[in-house]
Amino acid sequence: MVGFVILAILAMAGAVGVIVARQPVHSALFLIGNIIALAVLYLTLSAEFLAAAQVIVYAGAIMVLFLFVVTLLTAGKDEREAAETLPGQRLIAGGASGLVGLALVVLAILNPGPAISLGLPKNFGTLRGMGAALWGPDFVYLVAVAIMLLTAAIGVLVLNRPERRAVRGARKASARQTRSREGQA
């Protein structure tokens, strides 16, 4: 119980830090704290493989990518948030979503559900158990993740392709226009 309370406080502190931090770098660091607290919580819920995957994939790969982009885009800048065109819209929307979240929390606490029973199946949550599920009955999800990652890699290449070809094409088009204009003259 004490462990859960400590982890919950750490996770919530990280979560609140993400949305109140002024600089995106601080948000990223708070998010890393949140992710690591959740990873330890996974360990207590006997999901060892997921705890390791959470630390390696989230806190490792994803957050490094985030920090890289944050430092690339916000280096040496102090961006003030501009004035609203519609005053108060964000506060109202935030308050509404906060109320919805409060309803979620209250509903979760009021409906205890079945008590957690001991005596887990063998290999529950270990690498062996997850592998047996992923290569057995849930193979379709593994294939789905593989296709999704491949699609994402191709999508990133398409989104950030070099613009040189486009510039050359534009130049060629404008040259063609001037040539045709000269021909008309």
Binding site: M12, A15, S27, N34, L50, V70, L102, I109, L120
Partner: protein, 100 residues
């Protein structure tokens, strides 16, 4: 071991904080991080229910969420960088017009 409803309540609270972050911030990077936090909250709920019902499928779903988040971060950050190269400002309200 405590009841799973408290873990699910924590997941709901983190989800709510993420939703509030998406609503009130204007920096697309911070909004994106809040969305990541919402993914994480959903994965936590899946893991909690997997523990309650002794079903490994819940953990498989959480694995799916981690994979989805990895793919989504790649695409999303690529979009943010591409937009930044055109507009040179990090403000979500810059993108208020569409052109077909």
């Amino acid at each position: 071991m405590i009841g799973a409803n408290w873990v699910v309540a924590l997941a709901g609270a983190i989800f709510a904080v993420g939703a509030v972050g998406v609503m009130i911030r204007k920096n697309p990077l911070i909004m994106f991080m809040s969305a990541e936090m919402m993914w994480n909250a959903a994965a936590l709920a899946f893991v909690a229910y997997a523990r309650v019902y002794h079903a490994i499928n819940g953990q498989v779903m959480a694995f799916l969420i981690i994979g989805t988040a990895a793919a989504e971060v790649g695409i999303g950050l690529a979009i943010i960088v591409a937009v930044y190269h055109r507009r040179h400002r990090l403000d979500i309200d810059e993108l208020s017009s569409l052109r077909g």
